[in-house]
Symmetry: C2
Amino acid sequence: MSELDSVSAYNLDAQDPLANYRDRFVNKDPELIYLDGNSLGRLPRATIGRLQDVIEKEWGDRLIRGWNEGWFRLQESVGGKIAKLIGAEPDEVVVADSTSVNLFKLTLAAIRAQTGRHKIITDDLNFPSDLYVLQSTADLQSGSYIERISSEDDIHGPTEQISNALNDGTALLTLSHVTFKSGFIYNMALLSQQAREVGALTLWDLSHSAGSIEVNLRGSGADLAVGCTYKYLNGGPGAPAFLYVRRELQERLGNPLAGWFGQKNMFALDLDYQPESGIRRFLTGTPTILSLAAVENGVDLLNEVGIANLRKKSVAQTEYLIHLHDRYLAPLGFKVNSPRSPQMRGSHVSIGHPEGWRINQALIEEKKVLPDFREPDNLRLGIAPIYTTYADLYTAVMRIRSVVQDELYLKYDEARSEVT
Amino acid sequence: MSELDSVSAYNLDAQDPLANYRDRFVNKDPELIYLDGNSLGRLPRATIGRLQDVIEKEWGDRLIRGWNEGWFRLQESVGGKIAKLIGAEPDEVVVADSTSVNLFKLTLAAIRAQTGRHKIITDDLNFPSDLYVLQSTADLQSGSYIERISSEDDIHGPTEQISNALNDGTALLTLSHVTFKSGFIYNMALLSQQAREVGALTLWDLSHSAGSIEVNLRGSGADLAVGCTYKYLNGGPGAPAFLYVRRELQERLGNPLAGWFGQKNMFALDLDYQPESGIRRFLTGTPTILSLAAVENGVDLLNEVGIANLRKKSVAQTEYLIHLHDRYLAPLGFKVNSPRSPQMRGSHVSIGHPEGWRINQALIEEKKVLPDFREPDNLRLGIAPIYTTYADLYTAVMRIRSVVQDELYLKYDEARSEVT
């Protein structure tokens, strides 16, 4: 990759076998460089028509009949499609609630099933939101405690320390499969196997891996997983999350937050809870149908492309982006805060700069580039290979360079605003 | 009310000051008599345009910027509008998750705050879904147990037995304010006061009362409440639920399912949970924005009409429906399974018939009447005064009569299908 000019970017796009998929998404502003598909994926065009049907025909016309005409099974049917993307069987995945609620249910179920084991292992690269949920989980189970292992460089996961921490007192190991700041990929198969050897269960948060890298839950021997659908799955803002429970565990684990959608014969209205068999027992309340229906078209698109093809392009694009960084941004004080080895890196590249916060503000306000910022200094550049072009990446780097060279960021406030 | 013919129904509609609100809802099939607004409210016309904006402009064009441009505060702003309908202050209500998840969070928070008290009182007229959640809650707090008090006639709540059960070992009293089968209304002020006198907290499920009867949470001294938005609030299938925590209790109760939306300075990404002050601490994960946005227009409509006006019409309509029943349906073996006193009755009337299940099937399949069926024998006829007409009620009763007189129900299977 010696050529790093705009012509080479356009050539790379011209050779991209996935190039046509960009037009399957809404993209009205040709000037906008969107590098935040890892926070909120773009709107698939097909989703617009689907939602219009759900709203006007299913809700507006069919009314309550909509439940029997598809809504009741939508959590399983969309879950089954997500299963294909993450190496699971269709009857192992459902869409429900938020990632946090799903994480709560599965972590609590796991530690309650692990009698006599009290340790929950996680790391400081995990989503803070997951750590909050784990604190709630541990609070509810007498004796439980969290061992939060620190990364030495804030980029690579502390795999060896985690391995060493696993012992016969460990109830659960839970990690983000791809970490949200650096994009580091944990070796799911290795750690799941090591956990199993000491009798610990594993739970993986796939929010940054589902739809962006190849995940093989069953093949890895992973026990449990959760993940969101609004990032690489393009399910829409706050779209409901998914959960995975390995088939062999489904009957062993109870749902600690039982609800009528997990009840056997829910309309018999029995006063005592009797769980459904299979994955449905992990459901709780009534699902948000509009937000749930919005998930399906995005997932269909990814299945149409194939996760192997997406990953191949994603690796090529993160490599290209790092090359651009090294040539154009490193001289301006940037550094790569993501693993340089593509095998260890998901679909975003974080670049650090002491003025990262203000640079991010300037990019959004003046340069029509949308990355996002993560403390302390990370500009997170997310690549969604289904719609990100090489030209996007080249143009973004040129605009970032201009913000720094022209000192456009100086007029922005150093204080953090409430939300970013 | 001596005249009970079609002319009188049309006259009543002609005199109805709320009659014009019917056209604010989608209603494409003039033959359809929809009496299930207590399960899924109709689609407000304004919601169609609002959702189109949220989908195409906010998600499609604004993308991640949508969070700062309104989504982050939507749970509170819609909650504040619901507060007006239920006698709460705007900073006491948020929209989040499902009713079941909210019930779980608040009941668990309540019993954990009630050190040394172990009894949770409820009744057998409560939603079975709520009873399942209570079982989960009790399972998680050592020593806790549920005292489920039985109604003697399955119609009226066992108020006196509940009063007698309250004692200084009671952690929590939780009931459906309006019961889902008979529509019985509990005296919230009386029971909340009695509970407070013995130091018990109260939690009311408002799913069948919000938007249909006058609720005064603060005036009643109620501590906690939850409720859904897809029934009388017309928020759409599975729309997210609301929760209420009396202001004075907000700091005392922790959220046992902590998440990043309840975190102080959520984007500071602190690894340890620090709750926000106020009602936001009861939030957990990322809200489903499409389903949440859909709630607002329905709530706006109810606030525009005014809950007192809605209740006045609802009482007149349930009275009218019972008169029609007594004249036309009682002779065919029906009986009223709802309180006959309008002060004790919400906005639906359940009528029982030994062939209720098959009659309901025939009404749906052949007569374009949509009530719903609740075991063992109830046809539940829901009135949403904002769009139900007197002619709807008259026509429905005529069609029910025809199904029984002409024995149209005989061809249907007595076995219950999976969902109804």
